[in-house]
């Protein structure tokens, strides 16, 4: 009896300028497999379904627990983390492609550093006086912690940006992840001293008004972050800030 197998089709591209090709793989099925363990299998035996020798797949990964945010890719057309994409839950052949909205590096690796640049632009940090012992932090009630904690769970996977119709070179939209971080830091007792600067950073081109309310972001977020709520809250604050700035001249 033939053993059960897993069929994969992976989009390969040796470099940003090289042509893209699809390669097929057929692996022996094992319980509990996920897309990363399948690619580890390919690395140990880099041969296509047709029996042709090839190279191991290049992809980003690190924690394999869906907390580091590294292994985002398109699996059967859906942007998601590869480590938590269990083979048994996927229709075969499983089609795997890199995220499409970011500069390609190789195979499934893309360059998502734009998110870190955006976080810098909105000053996504609490401006503490220094790291010396200055006593305890501000009092935070559990009700408030329960609002900030989910926002602080963002793993920077960029899935929300990948699926956003407005996230493209034309608009220069910062994307939902960055806006949610603005809400997080604007609500922090100390972080809010930079509130106005953050709102102004989101007021111009590529800012929050680019959002078209497609709501794809909140659906795809692997951490179920209330992204659309964050966008409406921050959007309102940006508007108020604009009015204030206008009246101040």
């Amino acid at each position: 009896m033939a053993s059960r197998t897993v069929q994969l089709e992976i989009k390969r591209q040796a470099s940003p300028d090289a042509p893209a090709v699809w390669e097929k793989f057929e692996l022996e099925w094992r319980p509990g497999m996920n897309v990363i363990s399948a690619m580890m299998e390919i690395a140990a035996n880099p041969v296509t379904a047709e029996g042709r020798e090839t190279t191991p797949i290049s992809y980003d990964s690190n924690c394999l627990e869906e907390i580091c945010g590294s292994c985002a890719m398109r699996i059967n057309g859906k942007a998601r983390m590869a480590c938590s994409a269990l083979i048994d839950n996927l229709e075969q052949p499983i089609r795997i492609e890199p995220l499409s909205k970011f500069p390609l590096v190789r195979d499934l690796q893309v360059d998502r550093s734009v998110l870190f640049k955006n976080l810098m632009a909105v000053k996504a940090w609490v401006p503490v006086d220094g790291t010396y012992d200055l006593g305890s932090g501000p009092r935070v009630f559990p009700q408030q912690q329960e609002v900030s904690y989910p926002l602080s769970n963002c793993i920077s996977c960029t899935c929300c940006m990948e699926v956003c119709p407005q996230f493209n070179e034309e608009t220069g939209f910062v994307g939902a992840a960055t806006i949610a971080q603005v809400k997080l830091f604007n609500n922090h007792p100390t972080g809010k001293v930079l509130k106005e600067e953050r709102l102004r950073a989101l007021a111009g081109d590529g800012g929050i008004q680019e959002c078209g309310f497609a709501q794809n972001c909140v659906e795809v977020c692997p951490k179920q972050i209330p992204l659309t709520n964050a966008i409406s809250d921050v959007g309102r604050d940006v508007l108020v800030q604009k009015v204030k700035d206008f009246l101040r001249g």
Partner: protein, 592 residues
Amino acid sequence: MAGPRIIVVGGGLAGLAAVIKIAEAGGNVDLFSIVPVKRSHSVCAQGGINAAKNLKGEGDTTAQHFDDTIYGGDFLANQTPVKAMCEMAPAIIDLLDRMGVPFNRTPEGLLDFRRFGGTLYHRTAFAGATTGQQLLYALDEQARRYESEGKVRKYEGWEFLSAILDEKGVARGITAMDLRSMELRAFPADAIILATGGIGAIFGKSTNSVACTGSAQSALYQQGAYYANGEFIQVHPTCIPGEDKLRLMSESARGEGGRVWVPRTAGDKRPVKQIPESERFYFLEEWYPKYGNLVPRDVATRAIHKVVYEHGLGIDGQPMVYLDVTHIDHETLNRKLEGILEIYEKFVGDDPREVPMKIFPGMHYTMGGLWVDFNLMTSIPGIFAAGECEYQHHGANRLGANSLVSCMFDGFNAGPNAMRYAKSAAATEGDGGAAAELQRQTEINKKLLSSSGTENPFKLWRELGHTMTEHATVIRYNQGLKQADEKIVELLDRYKNVNLSDKSQWANTSFAFTRQLYNMLELSRTVVQGAILRDESRGAHYKPDFPDRNDEKFLKTTKASFTGAPEGPRFEFEDVDTQYIKPRPRRYDAAK
């Protein structure tokens, strides 16, 4: 005048803590990391961070934290740095709180604390069950703030290859490889801090992240740095076995009341929820009535092994036991443990709120590491080590929630210490040896690229992982350890015949991995041979043939140095600093 230039390798908690301290003190930092720093392995720490803040009216003190840590580590840790760490811990929590870490709160708005293994106090501050993630992000944000001011330059996607040493053996910089362009480059520095984490990959599957290969530590060890207590490897009692890795199920599940059990009858076929209380064997609670499910990790791990392999009571005859939180109300579970319960749900498919989790021990933490003095400097002048890659704080067994505090403590000390060193170091003569070291690294790459053998590096790695897990984890026998060493020697030999199926010079991840693999092989011999020499049982190191701790012979730090000879490392032993707490027998079946 420009401040000193310091290189920090590794952007996890310890590395970022050092970066922030250096930038704050006016130094310039070049930060090297294989992955974008926000994706470092520190994100995986779940349960919390220890500090004796005594906010629960239990009379907890830093002295008690110090004693628990030394006792939990079976007296192998040098006491001076551990004492300093425990004393600094409350201020570290305050600082993290000020940086905006969303710690769980009490109704009054104060920090909440939970219990963890190896202590009877509520000493662990936590942010849900993703504390490491939250801490790392807070530091990442502060580092980004300094980056925006031009004080920190990040080299993300660059891998450390070696130190640049001058004629006197003093470090003058590093060589690193761009993992995209594969370019090799020398970077000068006045001081260097290594904060490169644990060595989980040596065991094949572990709870560690993919980047935790120990390659950097090994490279430095091969350049002459001492590697200390390599044989001390923590196997975490509660992991979810997986195809690609062992996923951690945090000790906080037990800290919040989770119970470990197996059916009393082998092969009990009833659905788990139908097994009545009286027919469940809560073996940790029976064997260790005082600490119960919160015995230290080495004790819990051995107990699970015993119940599975000696009593034959693994679930369905498999090497698995139940970790049960179904008796805890859903609201509490979601508020305090949601992060880890989601991991179980996502990767196993069952809801742990309804069905007990099935877990088994897995390799988790590296207590040993680069030898450092009390200023965190390695035996190579100018190179410091911080966090899991050094050996200093956890002795023979680390207590849960002490790793995050040791990372913070180390980074906060290594940073200023490196600055002090850099300011007083003699100027570099010539290029400090940079050209020669770059040449040596170029040769290694050339040789690897021209290799036309038949051995697949990923298969060699799997073989290493199997042998290390079989012989050098929970239970160790000298015969098995010797077999493991022979196997490593065989793998080193086969490595010469390695086949790089990908020889391209662009984002070649298997090329980078193959370089790491060599370093993993060399370093694994310090683990195995260190274990052979230590004929006693202490903390995580357990030999049934030598079941007792032997302070007379082995209350010593193991120091391995690289020889390049076929026999492997050379070993020497150093006395442990026990000036504050006199070693006493370690037992958890009664109050200590």
